[in-house]
Symmetry: C2
Subunit: 370 residues, 2 copies
């Protein structure tokens, strides 16, 4: 926790849940997509343990939706990503990097198909709407691109399914990962999906009527009292333990999907019209950097993001936290592949870090004795 | 000042000046273009008086540059704005709303021409780079669009010219408003313009080498000691008194330039290729809302942005502050023009506000006895 305040104004938009977030004792925010994103309630560590054991309600309104609507919606959506989304079903979401024609990552949303002519991009922190609008204008596509009145409220943690079932009914238990249903709250039909920015399980309720925000929040707290429900937020400890990436922290548009370990989402021979695929075909295997996980047995706060060995730059730290569960310092770093060829450790500020692949599971590493 | 902390991470980018801003006792930040923007040092009011009387150094790195470079740079720049920029000279800046084909305002940068083939858009808080890239891709333009290593440092206040002359030489005194020169600091040539987001006068130094940030800051403080130089930042009191608009606070892409009183920048019969001009020709005079200034003789904090009279919505508050100089509460509001036709005041929370046009000068209003 630093000790600087956030100046809040109309530009750092509040959400339909802000009054409840404040009443729940939020201590800190970030600004994400020009909107308040809560980041801390009790403290990172206490928030972390509670998330892993109980159920939390997260105001993730800042996870804005970019709606693409019209006859050319499917075409524009596919142009934006190298992932083949042609087989996506209605109400299904797919994690998909958006890439420009150089292969640089613009954003990494969940792309949710409502119908072939109506998509939502549930975005990380960059103005995808502007990119999509620019492409639509330039290519002369028959689509509208806009930000609808949709503010996701996430319910996360091991008891999330129970709480969401109490609210929307038992059918939610049958929703598979990244699938959703249109469900009703106070007469309003909204998209509810099994998704969320943690690996503790849970749902996201895509509230589509801001005036119901406080009622939805209050209902979840009323129904979840015996489940020990609390206000929460994406938690950096849980995120690093789970290997979840963050645009702007771990990568940006100077990086391509191969550098970020997102190869699995790209079929180079896919027969799709995607802006980035031609560039990515050339880049495949040629990338010089790779996002990796580091872990230390000691608590250490790395002050200098540039990592050097014998005075040579070998990588850049992108995220770090102390894991109270594993008693290890975890970090992500964009490492030179040259270095990785011959090294599985790196010394930073006098401490040795193990280097693992990005999708490291701390538990697996510990079991392997690393 | 609210009491919520800002969570700072790599995503909320720090600047070449952050170490000095922190050492100068910054109390609060906003996040602007994914970057830290200082908002308060001593307190708003003290910062305000000092700005109006002395000279301040502002870290406005968050005022990012979008560089458009290549044979089609001029064409793309003009497509993005309805303002005729064809006569812009090298090293001249022009304030210009960027509008989409519906006339909605995407941003309101200073567009700086380095040459016909190289423009900088010195932007407010939205990812103009993505819009420009989308347009360039869609239209197949021969340009590169990127964010260069440029971090403006503003020197603002009545003694700013003296301080900048001490640093760069007497020639800066001849630079006219929104004009600039290429000047040298420690051997590095950079753009220095008479501009800045206050009406207290001053310059912006477009540092183009991040490694010189601390040296540039320190030199200004060394040279400005007897001028009572201090660290500062865009000040909301000064901004409202001066009638300066803020994207995201006072308007967004749901607004057009007429609603914002920016008519003067648009010649409807200009013979230019601009995406928005066809729509704006139809919108001219048809707009239903108008951004206006409000002022109260009493201190009042308006809690509800929606302004109603007899239960009818008549406008929306966008910004407000207490002016310690005029002992008046100032506000901007997007008002229904229907209401404005018959009213020059509005009662809000039991207090009467005078309504003035946007470019109100509090001094002028007081002289007119309003």
């Amino acid at each position: 926790m630093n000790d600087k305040f956030l100046s809040i104004s109309r530009r750092t938009r509040s959400t339909p849940f802000t009054s409840r977030v404040e009443a729940s004792g939020v201590k800190a925010y970030s600004v994400y997509n020009h909107m308040l994103l809560p980041t801390e309630f009790v403290n990172f560590e206490d928030d972390y343990w509670h998330l892993c054991e109980h159920v939390q309600v997260w105001d993730v309104s800042a996870e804005r939706q970019v709606e693409i609507k019209g006859p050319d919606a499917m075409r524009l959506a596919q142009l934006m990503t190298p992932r083949d989304i042609s087989s996506t079903q209605d109400l299904q979401g797919k994690y998909a990097p958006l890439c420009n024609e150089h292969g640089g990552i613009i954003n990494d949303p969940i792309m949710i198909r409502h119908s072939a002519e109506r998509w939502w991009l549930s975005i990380a922190d960059s103005d995808v709407k502007l990119w999509a609008q620019g492409l639509a204008t330039g290519f002369g596509l028959n689509v509208e691109v806009f930000e609808p009145d949709v503010t996701p409220l996430a319910v996360q943690g091991p008891k999330a399914e129970e709480l969401v079932a109490r609210l929307f009914g038992e059918s939610v238990r049958d929703i598979r990962f990244f699938r959703g249903e249109m469900l009703k709250f106070q007469g309003q039909v909204m998209y509810v999906a099994r998704s969320g920015w943690s690996k503790q399980g849970g749902f996201e309720i895509y509230l589509n009527n801001a005036s119901l925000g406080e009622a939805l929040w209050d209902k979840l707290f009323e129904l979840g009292k015996d489940l020990n429900v609390r206000a929460g937020c994406p938690n950096s400890i849980e995120r690093l333990e789970s290997g979840l990436l963050s645009l702007g922290n771990d990568f940006d548009d100077s990086n391509n999907p191969f550098e970020c370990g997102l190869d699995q989402y790209i079929k180079l021979d896919a027969d799709i019209e995607s802006l980035s695929l031609p560039a990515l075909r050339k880049l495949a295997g040629q990338h010089k950097k790779q996002l990796m996980g580091l872990f230390f047995n000691q608590k250490i706060t790395i002050r200098q993001p540039n990592l050097t060995v014998d005075g040579q730059f070998v990588g850049e730290l992108t995220s770090q936290c102390w894991s109270p569960r594993y008693r290890k310092q975890l970090a992500f770093a964009m490492m030179n592949r040259d270095y990785l060829e011959n090294h599985s450790t790196i010394e930073i500020e006098g401490q040795i870090a193990q280097i693992s692949d990005l999708h490291f599971s701390v538990e697996a590493l510990i079991q392997r004795g690393e």
